[in-house]
């Protein structure tokens, strides 16, 4: 271990930020549920994250030689794509937001956020344990 905090903690922090951003967009959509002509917005970042981690469909970046440089991962090297619906859904004057979809997206987002905070917490508890055990 070269440094005290691995890069994975930065990834988790970044993903937490993106999840908060997604929560903001979902809140905007739900607040505008009765606004005519409102275009629902969504945030997509999972694919970008996978690509940034070089774990996309092509699989891991292959190292064919011991001398190959390991690809350093930069957690700020990617960001979420904000997508807007092309056309607002327009049912009986006012109904442009798919409420079920939004609430489900929010619930999912919340669960993942909570899971990620637990991951970060565990990270620190692990570190603490090592320090306290080593001090004995």
């Amino acid at each position: 271990m070269k440094e005290m905090f691995g890069t994975h903690i930065n990834v988790t922090a970044k993903v937490l930020d993106l999840r908060l951003e997604r929560q903001n967009l979902v809140m905007g959509n739900i607040a505008n549920a009765n606004t005519p002509e409102y275009k629902p917005r969504k945030l997509e970042f999972e694919d970008q994250l996978q690509t940034a981690l070089a774990l996309n469909m092509k699989g891991k970046l292959t190292k064919t030689d011991k001398m190959h440089m390991p690809a350093a991962f930069d957690p700020n090297g990617f960001q979420g794509d904000e997508l807007k619906e092309f056309k607002p859904r327009y049912v009986y004057g006012e109904d442009s937001v798919d409420m079920e979809k939004e609430v489900a997206a929010m619930a999912k987002n919340n669960l993942m956020y909570n899971a990620l905070t637990s991951v970060i917490k565990k990270n620190f508890t692990g570190l603490e344990k090592i320090i306290s055990e080593g001090a004995k």
């Binding site: 937490l16 999840r19 908060l20 951003e21 929560q23 903001n24 967009l25 979902v26 809140m27 905007g28 739900i30 607040a31 505008n32 549920a33 009765n34 606004t35 005519p36 409102y38 917005r41 945030l43 979420g80 904000e82 807007k84 006012e94 409420m99 939004e102 609430v103 929010m106 619930a107 987002n109 919340n110 956020y113 909570n114 905070t117 970060i120 917490k121 620190f124």
Partner: protein, 145 residues
């Protein structure tokens, strides 16, 4: 983009739904009103919503694309419904005209109740979003513990 802007959006939604509910109860309360300050029977009102940016134009110029597209909701105004009045024959009514007809506002109770349910559900959904973001905030606080 931060937690506080999420709460601002949620509260804008709550506020809009509450104004909608106010207008609906006004309609239902005035279902038989024949005299108003403007003269004539009461006219049915409805609200118009508009999505409004969360950040000021200056803030938006300084921030990234996703902030520029963050929208809350705003009540644009209360509009007056121009549907014709209901004519009822009642010669003993003080507001009856020469032929003995009274004009009542044409308010459909079922329509108003449906709108009320929509407003209520919208309000509840906004409360849920605020609860969720509070939950997220509390979870983020536990990281430091």
């Amino acid at each position: 983009m931060d937690f506080m802007s999420a709460l601002d959006i949620g509260s804008s939604g709550l506020k809009a739904q509450r104004s909608h509910l106010n207008v609906i109860s006004m309609n239902l309360a005035n279902i038989r009103t024949t005299r108003t300050m403007e003269g004539g029977p009461y006219r049915r009102k409805s609200v118009s919503f508009e999505s409004s940016p969360v950040y000021s134009p200056f803030d938006k110029a300084m921030q990234d694309a996703s902030n520029r597209d963050l929208h809350g909701v705003r009540v644009n105004g209360v509009t007056v419904d121009q549907r014709p009045f209901k004519e009822v024959f009642d010669p003993n009514h003080p507001d009856a005209n020469d032929q003995g007809y009274v004009y009542y506002p044409d308010i459909n109770v079922v329509e108003e109740m449906t709108n009320m349910m929509t407003a209520m559900r919208g309000y509840e959904a906004n409360v849920q979003t605020i609860q969720t973001v509070k939950n997220m905030f509390n979870k983020a606080l536990t990281i430091g513990q």
